[in-house]
Amino acid sequence: MDESVNALAARNAYEAKRGAIAILPLALGASVYGLAFGFLAVQVGFPWWGVAIMSASTHAGSSQIIAVEQFASTGVVLGAVLAGASLNLRYVGIIASLSEVLAGLSLRKKLFAIHITGDENWALTMSERAKSPDVGAPFLIGSGLVNISMWTASTTLGALLGAALPDLGRFGLSFAFTAAFIAMARGLWRGRSQVLPWTMAAAATMAVISLGMPKAYGIIVGAFFGLVVTFLKRRIEAAAR
């Protein structure tokens, strides 16, 4: 009995470590935005330690950026919070999709895991899980801890160093997010049945953004549109049978 418990603990520790290492390059890419956000936040009156507190407690990436920008330009607290929070709505879908990964964890662990989950480690976990169903909560938590640590450290560094920072984007780091997510989409690819929903999701996202809406809204509309197409496709296929 003890041996099987120990073996499980060792396996979980190994998976957490694997997730922590695998996320490093992606977290480094996200740090480019973190540095820029820290610099921006300091300019509108946040001290460096305030930036650190905000990043560790909110862990909301683009939502933090928008909330700070709105607060700086309008000075209206509620408007800034609503603008930031609405950009984070995709996390309803992101966290919902983790339901099976989180099943079996205590409520405390679940709440901890969903707080440290970001775009990068979520997508990496789902992509790796598509290859191997053994990938689960330990991988998500290991990669999430590195992700939130790198985000907090990079935003704090951006606040401390500010304009002294070089333009890291020109080294290709600003493209890291896009390249990594293209690769993770490949990992989630199951076959031709996804061609139409994925195409429609991408097209809807681009159409919404082209109309001048924020990117975050485009992502929500795109994913929802893709779900509607999948639903209709399933109904048509069921009727044909």
Binding site: A96, A179, I182, K215, I219
Partner: protein
């Protein structure tokens, strides 16, 4: 840090976490319903939408770099390989066009 800064941070913490908890509750309900397929489809759809949102409005070199990353991803199914080759293509094309 002024009181307003603290209020912005505090409210954003509550809002961001409430959204995540809403996702947790929704996921647990959907998982045991007839619509459980939604949870299988969501990751791919969100990732594709994230990529589309990153590429829209970008100049041709960015699309070419995305093509390189996609080619590498199809060939290897390795995130790191696709990411490194995509970044090299992006930096290289940027250097050529500067």
């Amino acid at each position: 840090m002024s009181a307003s800064h603290w209020v912005v941070v505090s409210l954003l913490v509550v809002a961001a976490f409430a959204i995540r908890v809403a996702g947790l509750i929704a996921g647990e309900r959907i998982r045991v319903s007839r619509q459980a397929w939604v949870l299988d489809e969501l990751p791919g759809l969100i990732v594709v939408s994230l990529v589309a949102s990153s590429l829209i409005g970008q100049p041709p070199p960015t699309w070419i770099a995305a093509g390189v990353a996609l080619g590498a991803a199809i060939a290897t199914n390795q995130v790191i390989v696709a990411m490194v080759l995509g970044m090299l293509a992006y930096a290289g094309l940027g250097w050529l066009s500067s």
